[in-house]
């Protein structure tokens, strides 16, 4: 019989610190006992799932070890007649998607990364390119089981699709980055798999008029993902591999790349497809293009890389796009959902913190200092928030991490945030310091 907790020596580096030991509880009781023990000793832990996004955090306070959910994995209940599934936190999202697809259902979660887990996706509220139809992570979560900071085993919500029995605690836990409790399992709502699915791609002029036309086109009923990708110079930014028949040189210069996924009834998809092909000269693309693009844009290419994700109302998207490009970052925009992801700084990895660079525009001239870069990025956040949106950083080089809060903060909510954390985790043992407002 395997021990209830497997432990190993392993070094995990995260912003502000590191751990050198990882505990893997194999059942909920073991996790509960482990946390109760840490709680008694006031020893803080780093919670990890698939480890795809541990860098997305503010600087951690002192940590004793990591607790990994990877041994708490598997699908416990899948009811094809009901369209719900229960999975343990360590279950890889991709495996879950495949399992339910076999019965005609679709998991409305498509975060990037092959290793990404159910628990990590819920903890980080990570959405993928299909957010315009899938909605937010919380929309898929019917109920959760968690272990609290003191080891208490709790649940919230349920397994039914409609429920107002008490506070909607699942909303609070979803996107709380493991600072209020450790997710051990989730009831998730499924949606029927579309009868027909089509993926299209192509390159278009990168001007405001085309962008606006694409933004409107993304509202068509069967559009599941409509991604506009563009670099500051107009060269290929993310290489989704749209399988475009045009030559590489043709595609490379001064254009934006479109990847579109349609889904629904045959006739409706055919109708939208025809309209899109006519409007943007799109051609058939790799069926996996959307997921590959999602993965591609989320990979930090170097230690100096900067990544961010913003969400704004549709009419503000173009202004944000232009400001982001002007800051030297490449953008990839989910037009229907109003989500912009951006990255840059890939070429500057070897250089020290004092000479961070982003984008090609600056590569010739003198490199701005970290301070100036930080100011630029914070100005982008200010612009986003002022226009009714949010912006968080996916990753930041060390020199910037000291100057920028990864998550930002809703003005006026700090006292509530501090009070909430104090009530759920008074000894600050769950991911301390990593989330918003010092939680």
């Amino acid at each position: 019989m395997s021990p209830p907790v497997e432990s190993s020596r392993e070094r995990i580096e995260i912003p502000g610190g590191f751990v050198e030991a990882v505990d893997r509880p194999t059942d909920v009781e073991a996790l509960s006992a482990l946390l109760a023990e840490r709680h008694a000793r006031s020893e803080a832990v780093l919670v990890v799932g698939g480890r795809t996004r541990l860098a997305q955090a503010n600087r951690a306070e002192k940590l004793a070890a990591a607790i990994s959910l990877e041994a708490l994995a598997g699908i416990d209940v899948f009811e094809p007649d009901e369209g719900v599934v229960h999975a343990r936190a360590g279950t890889p999202i991709r495996a879950l998607r495949e399992a339910v697809a076999a019965e005609g259902w679709e998991l409305p979660l498509d975060p990037p990364g092959a290793a990404t887990t159910v628990g990590g996706t819920i903890a980080s509220a990570a959405v993928g390119p299909r957010a315009q139809v899938f909605g937010r992570v919380a929309d898929a979560v019917l109920g959760l089981e968690l272990v609290g900071a003191d080891g208490a085993v709790t649940k919230c919500g349920g397994r039914v699709v409609k429920n107002v029995t008490g506070y909607d605690m699942a909303k609070l836990y979803t996107g709380s980055f493991g600072t209020l409790g450790v997710v051990t399992g989730a009831w998730l709502r499924l949606r029927p798999k579309p009868a027909a699915r089509v993926v299209l791609g192509g390159r278009v002029a990168r001007d405001a008029a085309t962008f606006e036309a694409a933004r409107i086109a993304a509202r068509a009923t069967t559009v599941r993902a409509f991604v506009w990708s563009e670099s500051p110079t107009g060269s290929a930014a993310y290489g989704a591999g749209t399988g475009s028949g045009r030559s590489a040189s043709d595609a490379a210069e001064d254009s934006a790349e479109l990847v579109v996924e349609l889904g629904g009834g045959e006739a409706a998809v055919a109708q939208d497809r025809e309209a899109l092909v006519r409007a943007f000269s799109l051609i058939p693309a790799d069926p996996l293009a959307v997921d590959r693009l999602g993965d591609g844009r989320a990979q930090a290419a170097s230690a100096a890389a900067i990544g961010l994700r913003a969400r704004v109302v549709p009419t503000q998207l173009d202004a944000l796009r232009q400001a982001t490009l002007a800051a030297g970052l490449s953008v990839s925009i989910d037009l229907g959902a109003g989500v912009l992801t951006a990255r840059g700084g890939e070429s500057s990895g070897a250089e020290g913190a004092g000479s961070l660079r982003i984008g090609a525009r600056e590569s010739g001239g003198a490199s701005p200092g970290a301070g100036e870069l930080a100011r630029k990025l914070l100005a982008l956040r200010e612009q986003t928030v002022a226009s009714g949106g949010v912006l968080r950083f996916d990753w930041l080089p060390a020199a910037l991490a000291e100057r920028i809060d990864v998550f930002g903060e809703e003005p006026g909510t700090r006292a509530l945030v501090v009070s909430l954390k104090q009530r759920f985790d008074p000894r600050r043992i769950l991911n301390p310091g990593r989330f918003v407002a010092g939680t």
Partner: protein
């Protein structure tokens, strides 16, 4: 002291905005849950956020509790006053502040009536999707507090899926904003936690809601079955078929009889044991295929007949059977207990049989009209409260119904909320640790319980609060 607080409230909202005479207060003794009424000390009718904040501060200074209220259509007693509390009624905060058609959202005050919002944006090709059957009267503030649903929840989701941002007067009188027009929050999702909190975390004074494009085409089907179990089975087949109807509603024989005998008469045949209303919407090109799938599902369960609405008038007639149900049931008995519970959809046939058995055993008249596609049951029990024995049987049967739903994997409320009605049934679903987590959320916003005391969370002998004095407001017995 009481006189002092009322004088202060008058200063804030003017004499006309502050009701204190017994005759005026009578209508505010309860909401849609008419059992165990309680008279408030006063009812104040603010028109601005600043007034709400000033009212809350005045209540705090006087040490009296306060209870937010919208239109008072709630069915779980969420807007019931407690002894010596002030009701803050938001119905005069009824302005639509902004409609942003391009970004498909609107900013409204909490007292805007649900149906009026949809009417106001219809010319823009938009509507506000959550459509509780009470939508002609209930307010957006009440909807937010209850996370209300409606017949079209199956496809469009409940209120929580349509609230982007909120302004809240906290129980300490401070004013904060949560969320953003983009629908996301920076940090914790407080918007998600406030929706459905039944007025216990503060008073919502402004709501930014999502607006939805009116679908290009709608088809409404009326399907007749021998009995309600057959209709439920057909619902199961529809769910499995991959079609997501906008609505899947069931009306049973007793309800049909009541409707047909009332002003809502929809011309339904009294030979049917149950009616299933199916609404499909979307692109015109998709609907023919979906209708075929629904037909197949219903025929497989040997339905009696399928009618498809030929025009808008007929569509309205089909819906009358559903929307007029509660009003019509008023004919069956002096009182109606509207229950609300949810079960996994595939368990509907079995649970409905159990519910009928329970009511038969207690000798009670049961009528069912419910959101079948969501598994959301509304067993309605007709009774006469003047008969204490019957009232006792209604309460006992109600508890057994909830227990049966929980045993089937369900929960004790799908849209009407916990309020005072189901507070002491929370243990059927949640353990002490689960409730402790809910208390932590409440205490973050409402540490001494002054805002809507005694709702949702049961007080327990076992629970030792860190500061026993702090829960003073909850010590007031409720019923």
């Amino acid at each position: 002291m009481r006189g002092g607080v009322i004088a202060r409230l008058r200063e804030i909202v003017g004499d006309a905005g502050c009701l204190v005479r017994p005759g005026e207060l009578f209508a505010y003794e309860c909401d849609g849950l008419t059992l165990s009424p309680k008279r408030p000390l006063a009812v104040v009718l603010p028109t601005t956020t600043e007034q709400v904040a000033a009212i809350v501060r005045a209540c705090r200074e006087a040490g009296v509790a306060f209870v937010p209220r919208g239109a008072g259509t709630g069915l779980s007693g969420g807007a019931h006053a407690t002894e010596n509390s002030i009701l803050i009624e938001c119905s005069r905060m009824n302005r639509i502040l902004e409609v942003d058609a391009e970004n498909r959202c609107a900013v409204v005050q909490p007292g805007v009536v649900n149906a009026e919002l949809s009417a106001a944006v219809a010319s823009l090709g938009l509507f506000y999707a959550p459509d509780p059957s009470s939508q002609q009267a209930c307010t957006i503030g009440g909807n937010v507090a209850e996370n209300s649903g409606g017949p079209h929840t199956l496809k469009y989701g409940t209120t929580t899926n349509h609230v982007l941002a909120l302004e809240l007067v906290l129980p300490d009188g401070s004013v904060e904003r949560f969320g953003s027009r983009s629908g996301e929050s920076q940090g914790f999702d407080f918007v998600g936690a406030i929706v459905g909190s039944e007025g216990t975390l503060g008073i919502v004074t402004e709501v930014t809601v999502r607006l939805t494009p009116i679908p290009k085409a709608v088809e409404t089907l009326l399907v007749l079955f021998d009995d309600v179990v057959g209709a439920c089975r057909a619902v199961g087949r529809v769910i499995r078929s991959g079609v997501v109807p906008a609505a899947l509603e069931i009306v049973d024989r007793r309800t049909i009889e009541a409707v047909e005998a009332s002003v809502y008469a929809a011309g339904l045949p009294l030979t049917a044991g149950a009616v299933l209303i199916v609404e499909l919407d979307g692109l015109p090109v998709s609907l023919a295929g979906e209708i075929a799938a629904i037909r197949a599902a219903c025929e497989a369960e040997r339905c009696q007949a399928i009618e498809i609405a030929r025009d808008e008038a007929e569509r309205k007639r089909f819906w009358r059977a559903r929307k007029g149900a509660f009003g019509a049931m008023g004919r069956l008995a002096p009182d109606l207990y509207v229950h609300d519970a949810v079960v996994p959809r595939m368990r509907l046939p079995a649970v409905l049989e159990q519910v009928c058995e329970i009511c038969d055993r207690y000798g009670l008249k049961l009528a069912n009209v419910f959101h079948a596609g969501d598994g959301n049951l509304h067993p309605n029990i007709c009774f006469d409260r003047r008969d204490p024995d019957e009232l006792a049987r209604v309460m006992a049967a109600g508890k057994e119904i909830l227990e049966a739903c929980v045993a089937a994997g369900g929960v004790i409320t799908g849209e009407h909320g916990v309020g005072v009605e189901k507070r002491d049934y929370m243990h059927l679903v949640f353990g002490e640790a689960d409730l402790a987590a809910m208390r932590r959320l409440r205490d973050t916003f409402n540490p001494d319980g002054a805002c809507n005391p005694g709702k949702i969370i049961p007080t327990t002998r076992f629970c030792v609060e860190s500061d026993p004095k702090a829960r003073g407001y909850d010590a007031v017995p409720i019923a």
